[in-house]
């Protein structure tokens, strides 16, 4: 199979083969997708009945690709006297310029054909391949091909038309009767519009058939992002990184560009842009991913954080709804727009089954204010923040023991593990047993503690409620005290991964203990032991900290959450180590992950194998559908913050750098914040004991 090419605009994207063709099977992940629905499952170009061969496919911009094609079959093409150029721009469907050049001395006559079909599969069906409950229809109206799908009042249509080039439309596609003079050219513009037919089978006002257009027109190559700033403005507005290490510069630039592509303005999001979770399959609102990414990016841009806070606040849970695992005050997990969400066969309208996002919401609000000084937003979101803090005590304490735990109420389609390690076997005892529900994983307690501490600051300084501040502080102190007793494994000298309902300590050694340092819930007296475990051979691979330690029963270097190394996870662990004064350890982790980034041209994957660095010498990528992934993209930014020791203090930015040895000098210029703009300078002098240098 030829290589897949993906381009996108908001939640509309195309995945095709290297020729630009789409030939989906029910479970294949190619097609034109919009609003979590596949609008084209077949889109195949032929010339005189033959498929074409790709010479090259170039992603010109994130929304635009150009395919250079020639006729001929097999590996040796015999007739290269024709060139076919297919240029595609995605947005509201896509626009495709089709150009054929005749390099021959004689005129040619060609039968050019595009076959088009759609299965209107929901994104969830693409992965599960279920039968459709509605009916398909096809028609030719006003010279346009209309592919449609209807189930009750739910209607989705793909409208295809061409201008120029003597086009004939039938119910299976478009045919062109092409004649090209010697050394001449022929071209046509094809428009494919994806329509969500809004109401009782009526197309929305202003979207009558003849007015339906994809976003980009013929010869339009300038990006029109749905989001405020263009890519150039976005990159130009970010702090400048100056350093000797060309790889670090590359990784930084890659992160900024990818974050720009991940900005997303979902429909019904109160018009805000926030980081989507990953391209292209997770181009939607995810509470946890958006919050973590906004936190990582705060020293570089505060826009993502403010919009994430407003959008997630707007959709905050208001009632008890078991199907959506919704409670008052709970922050959403995921929102989707496809058929299964529409008919409530999947709960994503939105789904609330995350046990961490709500506390993290308060953490982000406080951290945002510390950087920006935007008191107005903290006051605006007082109700939301209080409701989130209330959720922690009122709705999340399922075991009745004062800890946040989770157990889905939607047993059919809800999520079993509602923490970031959400695969089925991620929460396990050292001997491999899986604990029962409800489960109180340790990092959830850390987030809850941090939310209370930060919420207290907000209550005192912005909400004029010192009594509430004291109540939160008492609750935080009590939680910290109990936690350091109940979760601590005295024999093993680290914190249990979780407590199950009967109070048993789930005793695997995992990366979760690193998040505890970030949250500040760890007693000073226990921090050294935790740091030692994180940097031990069992957890630290040389590239980064594994999700689960070697030697545990379920450890697997390529197990999704039971042995792989996650850059996002490591960025928060390093921040946590720095918080407790383990600057050298933090720098080692930063150096390891940033070294790994070199192998991926600066674009860190979601996860890579937990193999010993000295064994493989390169990081083995974990196969995943999404790239870039938002919180992997944000990881290098947070590592920079941690290495430079950037910390807002009052109206000033404190810089306290601790770089890995051999890092040379680093300057980060124009760091935005309540101080205006500040520069940070650092020089890497710290010797590192075990730094494994990559061989060229």
């Amino acid at each position: 199979m030829s290589e897949q090419v993906a381009i996108l605009d908001g939640n509309t994207f195309v995945v095709s083969d290297g020729c630009g063709d789409i030939e989906a099977t029910p479970t294949d992940t190619v097609g034109l997708f919009s609003f979590d629905t596949r609008f084209l499952s077949t889109w195949v170009l032929t010339v005189d009945g033959h498929r074409l061969n790709a010479l090259s496919a170039d992603n010109l911009q994130y929304f635009e690709t150009r395919f250079f094609l020639v006729p001929g079959t097999g590996t040796v093409y015999v007739d290269a006297k024709l060139s076919v150029i297919r240029q595609r721009a995605v947005g509201g469907g896509f626009h495709e310029d089709l150009i054929i050049l005749n390099h021959n001395d004689k005129p040619v006559s060609l039968a050019v054909r595009i076959d088009a079909r759609s299965d209107f599969a929901d994104i969830f069906e693409v992965k599960n391949a279920e039968g459709k409950k509605g009916k398909y229809y096809t028609s030719v109206e006003e010279g346009r091909l209309v592919l449609g799908y209807q189930r009750e009042t739910f209607i989705r249509e793909t409208v295809i038309s061409a201008t120029g080039g003597r086009c004939q439309v039938d119910e299976q596609g478009l045919s062109f009767d092409v004649r090209i003079p010697a050394h001449g050219r022929w071209e046509t513009d094809i428009e494919v519009a994806a329509i969500v037919v809004a109401y009782h089978g009526r197309r929305p006002r202003g979207r009558e058939l003849r007015k339906v257009k994809p976003k980009y027109a013929h010869d339009e190559h300038k990006a029109r992002p749905n989001i405020g700033q263009s890519l150039e403005q976005w990159v130009a507005g970010a702090p400048k990184l100056e350093c000797e290490d060309i790889h670090l510069r590359l990784t930084y630039r890659r992160s900024l560009v990818d974050l720009a592509a991940l900005r997303f303005s979902p429909p019904v999001s109160a018009g805000h842009n926030l980081p989507a979770a990953g391209l292209p399959w997770f181009m939607t609102m995810f509470g946890r991913d958006s919050i973590f990414t906004s936190l990582q990016a705060l020293p570089f841009t505060s826009e993502l954080a403010s919009t994430t806070l407003k959008a997630l606040g707007g959709w905050q849970g208001a009632r008890v709804d078991d199907f959506r695992d919704e409670d008052p005050g709970r922050i959403l997990h995921e929102m989707r727009y496809g058929e299964t969400a529409a008919f409530e066969e999947q709960p994503h309208s939105p789904y609330y089954g995350a046990a961490d996002a709500t506390a993290l919401y308060v953490v982000l609000l406080d951290e945002y204010e510390r950087w920006t000084g935007d008191a107005a937003l903290v006051k605006d979101l007082e109700y939301e923040a209080r409701a989130a803090l209330n959720w922690i005590d009122e709705y999340a304490d399922l075991q009745g023991n004062g800890y946040v735990s989770y157990q889905r109420r939607n047993e059919e389609t809800g999520l079993e593990n509602q923490c970031w390690k959400d695969s089925w076997d991620s929460i396990a005892y050292a001997d491999g047993r899986l604990p029962g529900f409800p489960r109180a994983t340790c990092e959830l307690q850390g987030y809850a503690y941090d939310a209370k501490v930060r919420g207290a600051r907000l209550a005192r300084e912005f909400w004029n409620d010192p009594a509430y501040a004291e109540e939160l502080e008492r609750g935080a102190a009590d939680l910290k005290k109990r936690f350091n007793n109940d979760f601590w494994l005295p024999d093993k000298q680290y914190f249990a991964l979780a407590l199950e309902a009967d109070g048993s300590q789930v005793d695997s050694l995992t990366s979760n203990i690193g998040h505890l340092l970030w949250s500040g819930i760890v007693d000073r007296s226990k921090a050294k032991a935790v740091a030692k475990h994180l940097m031990s051979d069992r957890l630290f691979s040389g590239w980064g900290v594994r999700t689960m330690a070697t030697g545990e029963h379920r450890y697997n270097p390529i197990g999704y959450h039971v042995g792989t190394v996650w850059p996002f996870d490591n960025s928060f662990i390093a921040w946590g180590l720095r918080r407790y004064g383990f600057a050298e350890e933090a720098a080692r982790i930063a150096a390891g992950i940033l070294d790994a980034a070199v192998f991926f041209e600066g674009r860190l994957p979601e996860a890579f194998g937990g193999y010993e660095r000295e064994l493989t010498r390169y990081p083995v990528q974990y196969p995943t559908a999404c790239s870039p992934q938002a919180w992997s993209t944000g990881a290098p930014l947070l590592f920079l913050r941690t290495m430079l020791g950037l910390e807002p203090r009052g109206d000033d930015l404190v810089v306290n750098p601790k770089l890995p040895g051999g890092a040379g000098h680093i300057a980060l210029l124009d760091i935005p914040g309540r101080w205006g703009k500040r520069d940070a300078f650092a020089r890497g002098r710290m010797p590192l004991r075990h730094r494994h240098v990559t061989e060229d």
């Binding site: 739910f154 109401y199 009782h200 109160a270 707007g314 727009y337 496809g338 529409a342 939105p350 009745g400």
Partner: protein, 135 residues
């Protein structure tokens, strides 16, 4: 029989300074389709100050649907986003959708309160609803 929609709109108008709506500014129109006519209600919000009146003036956001469907949404029997995606209600946005999102949340919170007060039937019990500690 009580008029569910009128009760809802009356309550909305009396909801000055309800925390959920405190940051809402803008207009929203409900176009309620009856058998023979459409009733149009314009809700104007200005940082928590709310007025409701019969009007077909343009609004930042228009929600249109059959009377029965709107009633179901108000009573929490139809999820608003699902209703929108399914084409049971039509939503037209002329501007920022924040007002719409906040009114959806206000409506959900109202359902929760009315269930607690016994004014709406309680939600069906989930088979294995874990018992939370209620402080």
């Amino acid at each position: 029989m009580t008029d569910v929609i009128m009760e809802y709109l009356n309550e909305l108008e009396r909801s000055d300074d309800v925390p959920i709506l405190r940051r809402a500014s803008g207009t929203m129109r409900f176009d309620i389709e009856g058998e023979n006519a459409i009733q149009r209600w314009l809700v104007t919000m200005n940082r928590g100050q709310i007025s409701v009146k019969r009007s077909n003036a343009p609004a930042n956001c228009v929600v249109r649907g059959d009377r029965a469907i709107i009633e179901k949404m108000i009573n929490g029997e139809l999820n608003p986003l699902a209703g929108m995606l399914r084409g049971l209600v039509q939503v037209e946005l002329a501007a920022d959708s924040e007002v719409l999102v906040l009114v959806v949340r206000y409506t959900g919170a109202r359902v929760q309160r009315m269930r607690q007060e016994g004014l709406l039937p309680a939600r069906p019990a989930a088979a294995t609803r874990p018992k939370g500690r209620r402080r």
